[in-house]
């Protein structure tokens, strides 16, 4: 993975920059010793590491303003960071950058149940947002699997999704407003407790901009009343085609499940060996979950099972208790861990039109043979967001490169069939150079033009999202 050469001028004046940062922050909020900055050298894409110049941990919007003014004046790149769980290298530092971590900003600023929103500082973890409103029977809907660790800041920057977004949407659909600080240190309030923008929808652009447009310090989020209950059903099929058809039929039937999850045989076998959830040994498995009162759930599941039966399932398992529900989810939830037991893995995140599912799975199987690397598929089938997990051995020379080439081929296939490179993890550094497969130069240019407006000097997370060659002139102009 190429990264730009660190700016020697910035490296040379490290002591000066640190001194300026220390002048505006409490002593324990500036980290600059090599041994300590290492803790921030990567995110969850651990194959790539680089300790930053320094790390700052502000506690308020005011401190963020002060930091950014210093960095802007000194022309130092800034990499915003939430919890560092990005799978795309979004929060990976460069040697000449300051990591601005919001982990200390975890306050709930306002919870309003009559108007159904909560305002938080963005370092708060995703799960603890729901935790703050749970007693009143509310929840925050987007639920990435990393929700125990990941921060709202990263969720907004990546426009994260979760298992339940089929019904509730992803982050952008649940975000009402933000307080953001621009690279120049200006505070901008966008949106609020009301719905939809009066002018241009800048909130929509900020969400998913991967920390390149501004540092988001506070967020107003929509909260929803908890459903009365939820129950999954498990179904196994002999072929991916049939499972795919079943997904389409359920979606078309007018029932809106909160989740439709899919696992293929390699993944089923791995999770069985790991977690022993009692899944049938079959080609494809679906977990469909619906919500409501008991009688509403019964009515929906009856419809879903009727549809499933028309596809000759090799196994159907209904849940009648919380315990059984947990067992149905057990395998799915331990899928990543199970694959990790077998070997190192790379998790992809392309999205495809649901109708292309069988074709894409078949092609992935063929490529797996060609590359000689195993792959398991587990993903959100209702919305076509795939997570192929490619197994490789990090200690075997050349294996990572082979795995990356295989991954790139899968993502190109996603684009080819009408889908996209990433459904929820973001581009970061990981898919940066594949952007040319999805977008023409002018399509990338208009996106970069938006960054020009927010961050004319290209100091915020500059080496991400866009192919380095495409962004080079803009990045160079800044130095």
């Amino acid at each position: 993975m190429d990264m730009p050469t660190p700016n020697p001028e910035v490296l040379a004046k490290k002591a000066h920059i640190v001194a300026r940062l220390k002048a505006v922050l409490p002593a324990d909020a500036v980290i600059y010793e090599e041994a300590e900055t290492r803790a921030y050298e990567c995110d969850a894409l651990t194959a790539y590491r680089c300790p930053p110049l320094a790390v700052v941990l502000p506690a308020s919007t005011e401190e963020v303003v002060a930091i950014l003014k210093v960095c802007h004046a000194e022309t130092v790149p800034v990499v915003p960071r939430g919890a560092g769980t990005s799978l795309a290298g979004g929060s990976m530092p460069t040697a000449d950058s300051v990591i601005l971590g919001v982990a200390r900003m975890t306050e709930v600023l306002e919870a309003d149940f009559a108007n159904r929103f909560i305002r938080v500082q963005t370092g708060r973890t995703n799960l603890s947002v729901s935790g703050a409103v749970e007693e009143q029977d509310f929840f925050y809907a987007p639920d990435p699997s990393s929700q125990l660790a990941c921060a709202i800041a990263g969720n907004i920057a990546m426009n994260s999704g979760g298992a339940h977004c089929l019904k509730y949407g992803v982050t952008t659909n649940n975000l009402l407003g933000v307080t953001m600080v621009t690279m120049e240190g200006e505070v901008v309030e966008i949106g609020g407790a009301h719905l939809d923008a009066g002018g241009l929808d800048l909130l929509g652009v900020i969400c998913g901009s991967e920390g390149q447009l501004g540092v988001v310090t506070e967020a107003t989020l929509r909260i929803l009343p908890k459903p009365e209950g939820a129950r999954p059903v498990l179904m196994g099929f002999d072929s991916n085609e049939v499972a795919g058809q079943c997904v389409s039929d359920i979606i078309k039937s007018g029932i809106l499940p909160v989740a439709i999850e899919f696992m293929d045989r390699p993944c089923i076998r791995a999770t069985e060996a790991f977690a022993g959830a009692g899944y049938p040994d079959c080609e494809a498995l679906l977990i469909v979950e619906v919500e409501g009162s008991d009688e509403e759930i019964d009515a929906q599941l009856e419809r879903i099972l009727t549809i499933a039966r028309t596809h000759n399932p090799v196994g159907l398992r209904e849940s009648t208790s919380a315990d059984e529900s947990a067992r149905i989810w057990l395998g799915r939830k331990s899928a990543f861990g199970a694959m990790g037991q077998i070997n190192d893995y790379m998790c992809l995140d392309g999205t495809i039109p649901v109708s292309q599912l069988p074709l894409v799975l078949r092609r992935i199987g063929e490529m797996s043979k060609d590359y000689g690397l195993d792959v398991g598929n587990v993903f959100h089938a209702g919305d076509g967001n795939m997570h192929p997990l490619i197994l490789f051995d990090a200690n075997k020379p050349g294996d990572l490169e082979k795995c990356e080439a295989f991954g790139a081929d899968i993502l190109r296939l996603c684009v080819e069939v009408g889908g996209c490179l990433t459904g929820e993890h973001g581009v970061g550094i990981e898919k940066r150079d594949l952007m040319v497969d999805q977008y023409l130069p002018e399509d990338l240019d208009i996106q970069m033009a938006v960054k020009d407006v927010f961050d004319p000097k290209w100091l915020l997370n500059p080496a991400k999202v866009f192919p380095l060659t495409a962004s080079e002139t803009r990045r160079m102009a800044a130095e």
Partner: protein
């Protein structure tokens, strides 16, 4: 100019010598009046892809909304965001186009449950002010590849680019619907009742209040949709829940009547044919009645309709009234106003200085010559 293809349209923009007035069906004469040559998207009309099993539809921008809706209806599907037809309110004629709906981010009562138009929008193709054909997003439901300019284009009223194609997420028409009506509530109690309903687990798809409904009395409307079992169950639960607010509670289960009632809300039928200016105010729901109370201090006879649980307030006020003189956190847009009102009062809420600077910066990138609906958004 009525180009027949996207590339012809791009040539029209590239070759334009002055301002262009971008038009879809021409049913939404909203915004600061623009002087310029009309560039119509009516020649780009086609539902180019529809996959009911994937809940997606792709259509050229000039496709009539009615055609899109009919295509979906044939498969038992619909647009989740329930776009209003502005013809009644604005006294216009013609057929709204899907591109116009998107450009204005038109979102009806189901906005509170199914999201706004921008939330259903998966991808766009458009021509920028230099005549470049650009695309963003795609036709899949989850896509975080690069910046989300899809949302930016929704609600940009043709000032950033001329939309040529949109792809949208659709939803199945549920098997049943019902409406719980509460009669006789004050505005404040009505918003409390709607908040209680929206804070319940009963998955409300519409919550509106008319201080003076069809029969001249206050009526609060709560809509539920889904399987027959669900609708019956939730209607019963909500009837109990809403009884505490003091009004008479009635359940309407005749689908035709329910649909007609919500079309009445969606299209702001109450204010059709009236003579005053019509404003659309977006606030947090509990703030709605306060804004209205303050407006009534000077204009006791204004007509009012609350949608979105109180968060969307439609008001009809005497011509030239500046509703923003009342302070509130949110925004107000002048939807129906005389040319005079539109020339003295900003149609769109003005933004804070830093926000305005960012918006202006974006306009200059998308339309450096300033020829696309210049000034329409102020």
């Amino acid at each position: 100019m009525i180009p027949k293809t996207e590339s012809e349209l791009a040539e029209c923009v590239a070759g334009a010598q002055g301002a262009l007035r971008i038009q879809g069906g021409g049913t939404r004469d909203i915004g600061v009046p623009v002087a310029g040559a009309v560039l119509s998207t009516a020649g780009l009309s086609d539902v180019s892809l529809y996959e009911p099993g994937a809940l997606t539809v792709v259509a050229a921008a000039g496709t009539p909304l009615s055609e899109v809706e009919a295509t979906l209806a044939a498969e038992g599907q619909r647009l989740a965001f329930e776009p209003m037809d502005h013809c009644g309110l604005l006294g216009g004629q013609g057929a709204s186009t899907i591109g116009g709906v998107v450009a204005a981010n038109v979102s009806g009562p189901r906005r509170i449950q199914g999201g706004a138009c921008r939330d259903s929008l998966l991808g766009v193709r458009f021509v920028d002010g230099m005549g470049r054909v650009l695309k963003n997003g795609g036709r899949v439901m989850k896509n975080v590849t690069g910046y989300d300019l899809v949302k930016l284009m929704a609600g940009s009223w043709g000032t950033l680019g001329v939309l040529t194609e949109v792809s949208l997420k659709v939803q199945a028409v549920p098997e049943a619907m019902g409406c719980i009506l509460v009669n006789g509530l004050s505005d404040v109690d009505a918003v409390s009742a709607m908040s209680a309903a929206l804070g319940s687990p009963y998955d409300i798809s519409g919550a509106a209040h008319a201080p003076s409904g069809v029969d001249g009395h206050p009526v609060t409307m709560i809509r539920v949709e889904g399987l027959e079992t669900s609708v019956a169950y939730r209607a019963a639960k909500l009837t109990n829940l809403l009884a505490q607010f003091g009004g008479e509670v009635v359940v309407e289960r005749d689908s035709m009547k329910v649909a007609a009632g919500w079309a009445w809300v969606r299209d702001v039928t109450l204010m059709q044919g009236g003579r005053g200016d019509v404003w659309r105010i977006s606030v947090k729901p509990s703030e709605g009645p306060n804004v209205v109370a303050k407006l009534r201090e000077t204009h006791p006879n204004i007509s009012v309709l609350y949608d979105w649980g109180g968060g969307l307030v439609w008001v009809q006020v005497p011509q030239g009234t500046d509703v923003r003189a009342v302070e509130f956190a949110g925004h107000a847009t002048l939807i129906r106003g005389s040319e005079k009102t539109r020339s003295i009062l900003p149609v769109f809420q003005s933004e804070s200085a830093p926000l305005a600077a960012l918006s202006q910066g974006i306009r200059e990138k998308f339309d450096p010559r300033g020829i696309l609906n210049p000034g329409l958004m102020g």
